[in-house]
Symmetry: C2
Subunit: 383 residues, 2 copies
C-alpha cells in the first residue's frame, strides 16, 4: 500500500517508427504497468479457475479487471467496502481496473431500459430491478476501489443505424460530464487514488468515432478508452475505427481498447497505437478446450491429441505448458475434469501476457512490425 | 525412476502403548510413504481441481489413488500403456495405488450382474457392456501401472443378510486366488514393481470378518486391505469390524482401510491399527462448501461468513488457509466460481494430510491417545 496518494501517471517510452505502436509505463498507487498490457478478467473478483498465487507468480500481469455490474450484484458493494475495497477482498495488491457496467447492462438487451437519466435493468440472478446512473456508477466504483474506473456509457449493438449511434454517442458524452462532475464532489474512499477513463463510442461510423474522440480528448483525462468494438463487426472495421480514434486521442495518455480480442486483434491494434486490452477470450475459450500458442490454435478436445504425449506448448511460457501433455489435457476435457479447464486458462493467459510482453520488447527494439507480421501469419492457424 | 526393481517394504517404526496405533514406512519403487497415510483420490487421473504441482508442493502426500473402473473406461488402458503407465500419463512420480474396480462396479447396482466368473456391467458413460474378472482386472491394473494394486472383490451393501455376506466373502476369497495365480504368470510391465493387496470382506458380521482376515493373512501378501466398510453402517459397527480384523492381520504388514472416512473415523481407525486410508470426502465435501478444520467443520456457504474477513483457517496448514478470507471463499461459492471449489479442496486435503502426520508424530512421541481424544471432541463440531 502506498504512503502517499499520487495521480496516475503514464510515461511514453518508445513509439515504433513503422507503425503507431507504443511502449510505455502506467504508474498507479498499486504499482507500475508496462504497456502494451493485457488485463485478465476477474469478473466477480476471481479470474476464473486461477488462484491469485498463480496469477501473481506464473501469469504475472501488472493489472487485472473486475466487472462493476457483477460485483454490485454479488457480493454487493457494502461487503467490498467492509473488506476495505476489492484489492483486500480478493487479496490482490497490484492494480485493478473496473468497467462501468455499461457493457453488461447493454448485454441484458430485453431486460433493461435506457433513458437519459440512466439504465433500469433486471438482475440476471434474481430478477430484481436496479437503476444505474452515471452518478451511482461512480459511487459504486469508488466503493469497489479500483485504481482505474470507467465512465458510464452506452455500448451500441452491431449493426446499429447511424441516427441511433449518433444520439447514443451524444448521451454517452453527457453521461461522461455527469460522471466527472459527480466524482469531483466525492473525496477519495481509500488511501489511494482512483483515475477515471472516459470512453469513445460512435459504433462503426468513422465520423462519429472522430467526433467522439475529439470530445473525449477535450476532457483531458489521464487515460482514454475505446468502447463499443468487438461486438460482432468484421476485424477490418474494428481496425479502421481504432485507427480513426488513435489518430486523435492524445499521444501522452494511455489508450485502452475494451473487450478485445484474439491474439491477432491484439497485435493489429497495438500497431494502431493501443496500449491496454482486456478480454474473456483466453479464459472462456480455454474452458472450452481452445489453446492459443505461438504456432497457432489447438482444439485440445480433438481425437488427434489422444496419444500425443508431447507438452501442450514446447515453448513453455508458463509451467503448465511443459508439466502436462496434450494427451493428458485432452483426457481431462473428455472426462470433464475441472483441472483441464484450469490448465487451459493458465496456459492461455500466460500466452496472452507473453504476447504483449514480446510486442513491447520488439517495440523497444524497433523490430515490432516485422515480428508482428510473422506472428499474425501463425496465430490464426489451426493445428 | 528407480534403477532396480524392489519388492514393496514395510518397516514398523513404533506401536502405541495405549492403543493399537502404529507408525511405519512403506517403500515402493516410487519412494517412501510414512504411515499412517491418507491417500488423495485421483479418480480419473486427476485429484479434482488440484494441479499436480499443488499436490506435490503444498499438500505433499507420498501416494495418491486412481480408480481402475474410471481409467479403464477413459482414457482406456491402451492410452495409459502408450504413455508408459499412469505415473507418466498424469506426471506424478511418487507412489500410486489403484483400486480394483470392485467398489465402482458394486455402485452400479442395477447395471451390473455378479457371477462366479466375474462381473458384467454397463458403462455409466455410454451404456456399453464390459466384463471384469479377477484375471483381466489384474491385467488392467498392470497396464495402469500403480505401485500397489488391489485384488478384485465384491463389496457387499449395507445392510446385507448373513448368507449373502458369507457366500460373497467366499467368492472374494476365490477371486483372490485367481488374482494371485494370474499375476504369477505375468512379467512386470514397467521398470518398477507392483504389489498386490488382498481385501478382507464379511460385511458387518464379526465372525465372517475374522474368517476373512484369517484367510487373507494366510496369503502372506506384502500388505492387506479391509473393504466393504463405510458403506452406510454406523461408525461404531465400522470400528468393531476394524478391530476384529486388525487383531488378526499380521502386524508387520501395512493395513489399508478402504474408502474411510471423516477426520474422526480416521483417528479412531488409526487407534485400532490402520495404516492407510483413502476417501473422496475432503474433495467432494469441499466442492460442496464443507471445510474441515482443527476446530471443527465450517459450512462456508452460510450467510454468517459473509463479512468475516478472517483467514479460512488461522492454523495455516496450506497456503490457501491464510491467502483467502472466509468472506471471499463464501462469495466464490455464492457466485459458483470454480476457484471456491479449488480452495476448499486444497484446504481439506491439506488438513487431512496434516491430521495423519500429527497422528504419526504423536504415535512416535507416545502421546497419541490423549491427543486423539482431544481432537475427536473438536473435529465434529459445527462452527
Amino acid at each position: 500500500m502506498p504512503l502517499t496518494k499520487k495521480q496516475m501517471k503514464f510515461t511514453l517510452e518508445a513509439t515504433d517508427l513503422n507503425s503507431s505502436a507504443r511502449a510505455g509505463t502506467i504508474t498507479t498507487d498499486h504499482g507500475t504497468i508496462e504497456t502494451p498490457i493485457f488485463m485478465p478478467v476477474g469478473t466477480v473478483g476471481s479470474v476464473k479457475g486461477i488462484h491469485q498465487r498463480e496469477l501473481r507468480e506464473d501469469i504475472n500481469p501488472d493489472i487485472i479487471l473486475g466487472n462493476t455490474y457483477h460485483l454490485y450484484l454479488r457480493p454487493q458493494t457494502d461487503i467490498i467496502e467492509k473488506a476495505g475495497g476489492l484489492h483486500k477482498f480478493i487479496n490482490w495488491d497490484r492494480s485493478i481496473l473496473t468497467d462501468s457496467g455499461g457493457f453488461q447492462v447493454y448485454s441484458l438487451s430485453a431486460n433493461r431500459k435506457i433513458k437519459e437519466e440512466g439504465v433500469k435493468f433486471k438482475s440476471h440472478i434474481d430478477g430484481s430491478y436496479h437503476f444505474f446512473t452515471p452518478e451511482n456508477v461512480m459511487e459504486i466504483q469508488r466503493s469497489i476501489g479500483a485504481d482505474i474506473i470507467m465512465a458510464f456509457d452506452e455500448c451500441t449493438p452491431y449493426p446499429c443505424d447511424y441516427q441511433y449511434a449518433r444520439r447514443s454517442m451524444q448521451m454517452t458524452h453527457r453521461w461522461l460530464d455527469r460522471c466527472v462532475n459527480h466524482l469531483e464532489k466525492l473525496p477519495l474512499k481509500y488511501d489511494y487514488n482512483q483515475t477515471l477513463f472516459p470512453i469513445v463510442q460512435g459504433s462503426t461510423f468513422k465520423d462519429l468515432r472522430q467526433q467522439s474522440a475529439e470530445y473525449i480528448s477535450s476532457k483531458d483525462a489521464k487515460g482514454n478508452a475505446i468502447g463499443g468494438l468487438s461486438v460482432g463487426e468484421p476485424a477490418e472495421v474494428m481496425y479502421e475505427m481504432t485507427e480513426a480514434v488513435t489518430d486523435i486521442l492524445p499521444k501522452e495518455k494511455p489508450r485502452y481498447l475494451m473487450g478485445v480480442g484474439t491474439p491477432v486483434n491484439i497485435l493489429e491494434n497495438i500497431a494502431l497505437g493501443i496500449d491496454m486490452f482486456d478480454c474473456v477470450m483466453p479464459t472462456r475459450n480455454g474452458r472450452n478446450g481452445m489453446l492459443f500458442t505461438s504456432e497457432g490454435i489447438i482444439n485440445i478436445k480433438n481425437k488427434k491429441w489422444e496419444d500425443d504425449f508431447s507438452p501442450i506448448d514446447p515453448q513453455g511460457i508458463t509451467w503448465v505448458d511443459t508439466e502436462y501433455s496434450k494427451a493428458y489435457v485432452r483426457h481431462l476435457f473428455t472426462v470433464n475434469e475441472s483441472l483441464g479447464r484450469q490448465i487451459a486458462s493458465i496456459h492461455n493467459l500466460g500466452f496472452y501476457l507473453w504476447l504483449v510482453r514480446e510486442a513491447r520488447k520488439h517495440i523497444l527494439e524497433g523490430s515490432f512490425v516485422s515480428w508482428k507480421n510473422e506472428m499474425v501469419k501463425k496465430l490464426d492457424q489451426r493445428l
